[in-house]
Amino acid sequence: MQEQIQQLEERASQRLHEVASLADLEEVRRALLGKKGELTALLRGMGGVAAGERPRMGQLVNDAKLRIEAMLEARGAELTRIARDAALAAEIIDVTLPARAVPFGRRHPLTQTSDDIVRIFSGLGYEVVEGPEVETLYYNFDALNIGPDHPARDEKDSLFISDNLVMRTETSAVQIHVMESRQPPVKIIAPGRVYRRDAVDRTHSAIFHQVEGLLVDQGVTFGDLKGTLTAFLQQLFEAIPGGSSLRTRFRPHYFPFTEPSAEFDISCIFCGGTGCSTCKGTGWIELGGCGMVHPGVLENVRYDSETYTGFAFGFGIERMAMIKFGIDNIRLFYDNDIRFSQQF
């Protein structure tokens, strides 16, 4: 009997070693420990054992059963691990394949730049106003001191709709609407689309965006105009190396609605002012026009041009964005190629 138990244990160990799957293992368990299993058969054979021997033999069979169960469990754990490893091996992915494109929206570089400009002037206390793009000749020209025979009123320079209506050629007309509706102090900026009868090339677009600024109050000086634009430009270009310390230059110019008038430049932020292809070797980049509001313009809106003075300025948003992002072709803004848009 004792020998039989020993042989059973040895066979069990041998069979468990050979078992390759959890299903086979279950079969082996049943063959050993099941109702018709070998160990059960051994226990049934206890009847032939001498009565005095029975407790000892029973003990031996039980011990063997525990050991076999432990072996089954160990082998089961081992097979489970092997099976999981195999399943995981089947799930290997190539981690170097491209990522799934998670849709990530972006703002257009022009509206981003417009926002920057608006944010800076909001901080300086300016109010943001808007006006119509289809403007009457009075607001677009006459009220801005642009008389009936000024070249800007020529059919070849501006886009007309009728004898009375024109696509606004600058956002300055918004100034007049605002000044007509209230008394000074007036402190506004007006961003928006403007239209010129220009052929489109790398730096010109028939439709583009402008920001117009206006401050009318007592005691406003030309020095204040210089200071305001300098502070603004240093903030707008602060992210560009040297941007926060850029220099400004004001050159006399002629505009019908300002006097004194100026064009304003910044020291070239690409070469630091030593001369490069962007600034055409001059060290300066031209940005826009400005000046003290012409007393005639103030009088057109019935302001007392003795009590109040003011300044106005205007510049193109495209131009600012081109400098800020290093874009060399204005058409890219309107092509809306996603490969361009996703860069900002």
Binding site: I93, L97, P98, R100, A101, P103, G105, R106, R107, H108, T111, D115, V118, S122, G125, E127, V128, E133, V134, T136, P151, K156, L159, F160, S162, N164, L165, P185, K187, R193, R197, D198, I207, L215, G219, T221, F222, G223, D224, K226, T230, A231, R249, F250, R251, P252, H253, Y254, E259, P260, M292, H294, P295, G296, T309, F333, Y334, N336, D337, I338
Partner: protein, 685 residues
Amino acid sequence: MRISTEWLREYVALPSPDELAHVFEMAGIGVEDHEGELFSLEVTSNRGDWLSAIGLAREIGAMTDHLMRVPAPTLSETGEPIQGRVQVEIENGDDCPRYVARLIENVKIGPSPEWMQHRLEQCGMRPINNIVDVTNYVMLETGQPLHAFDADKIVDKHITVRRAHPGERITTLDGVEHTLNEEVLLITGRDRPLAAAGIMGGLDSEVTESTRNILLESAHFDPLRVQRGKRKLGFGTEASRRFERWVDPNGTLRAADRAAQLLQECAGGTVAQGAIDRYVKPMSDAVVNLRPARCNAVLGLRLSTQAIITVLERLGLRVQRLSEENLQVSAPTWRRDITREIDLIEEVARVHGYDHIPTTLPRGVNIGAGRALSQRLEEQARSALVRCGLTEIVTYTLQSAAAVERAGLLSNDSVTSAIKLRNPISEDYTQLRTSLIPSLLETLATNARYRVQLFELGKVYLPRDDGSVETVKEQPNECRRIAIGLLDAPVPRWQKGAPEMDFFFLKGVVEQLLHALGTPAPQYQASQQSPFHPGRCASLSLDGQDLGVLGEVHPAIAEGYGLKHRAYLATLEFDALVRHISLIKAYTPLMRFPAIERDLALVLRAEVPAGTVQTVLRNAAGSLLESIEVFDVYSGSPIEAGFKSVALALRFRATDRTLTDAEVESTMHQIQAAATRELNAQLRT
């Protein structure tokens, strides 16, 4: 205006070319480029006097504080007196305030001296012969355009300055015949027109090889008249460019004398004694007062009265000190741009130097600073769409009728009555857009190779007139709209789980947007309109007001744009949305009492929209119903053909107590009754 420093140095001391470029810039004269001695300058339209060597030298002298010297013409008039031999009549002194004529006889036509040819070429003018060259040279020197007639081709040497008769013709020097109208001012002989005044001479009275006697014209024409004449003729000249910008009426005689002197020297002519000088409308200096205190207040300077006087005198203005507080300034007739005090203040700023005006900041606060509400809502909308993964685009606001047609919008009334430009630049941009869809579809086409999600927030321009576009008088209604465009594209096999782009994704984006703006839930209704798929398009409204449309692009339209995969569009009326936006975000207490949930499956006719089912059930449920959601729609066996099953999850809750099953059961009965009564629905079991 091109000029060499060699010429300018004749009148005034000059700094180095680089320094001179800076002087020009800071005077307000743009330097387009300069190579050593030669400057190419950009002159603003208010300063005709800068279109001459002497005018530029005067400005340099003022800016650099150097005296300018211009020698007076030296002339020996050895011929017979001109009086009685030449007649000039001026019909209207407003058109031609002054006309000076000189007679130079027995000239010998030939080339002009080399120094003169050289200077003309440097200024970009082609030498022709000694007579024409002298007139051009004096124009460049003094700014006064001159014209030389062959005196023997003018009947009785009698000249009349008058407007052209309608239909009258002239052949100009360039050989082109022009038909005129009364806008054009003419120099005429007894028999025919001799020149278009201030623009170009006539071919008939041109100086030729055989010319012996010259009648020299030095006149002042009204700038507006020359401009109108130029517009009628369709071209301008160096002469008209100067007349349009103003030529000094008190410089005509001197320019004629200078030209006569040079004709004598270069063509051997005899100058007739005297000149005809018809100065019918004499002009004198402008007198303008200037208060030094005002000047300082505008500029932010503290200049003394004496310093201001010095600056003005450097410019050639004459200053009389009425008092310490008030100066009287006379501006010579070559400075017609100076008409009021601010013009003098600008002169002080320029000559003192913009660089020397201190940089300061204005005072004061502005309570209204920053963006207005509707502008902030634009920001919110843009931000919401970007967070949904959409990329913003900016497109042209001008478009062509062909582009509208391509987008399938031609049948739309508001689109066809678009406002047209009277003078478009090209046929691609002829009218103001009335829809954002055409340019959005074009942008999808640009990016047709990719899976893209785009939006634009921009204006459309809706006519208020009846659409008879030739006579549009009223400004259009400029409305803001939002357009959304989605374009599907196949994804690689290993990315198959990417969210599906379909109508309901688009609807999800629209709802996120409305949610971000705080608008109430809108109503959707199946709609059929171009350019959408007839079975996959919905209109969107709120309280009966139309808010927009969303749907799949009709395959025929998509094909026209070369879109190979399904595309989806939405346009929303932003201005209308804004009126429904509630900015109040009120806190709702978190629910303390439990909810009871019930599912309901109804079988009803397939064409009944799920939205209608929800509305009917919600109306029947009363206040205990918290939410109702469709979670399945099924048609097919065992449901009878033409019918469908709609499964809904309903949640009931009371805010003040725990609901009982009995309460919910009674509500469910009401709901089921309404479903049977109003929808002909049966309970699916």
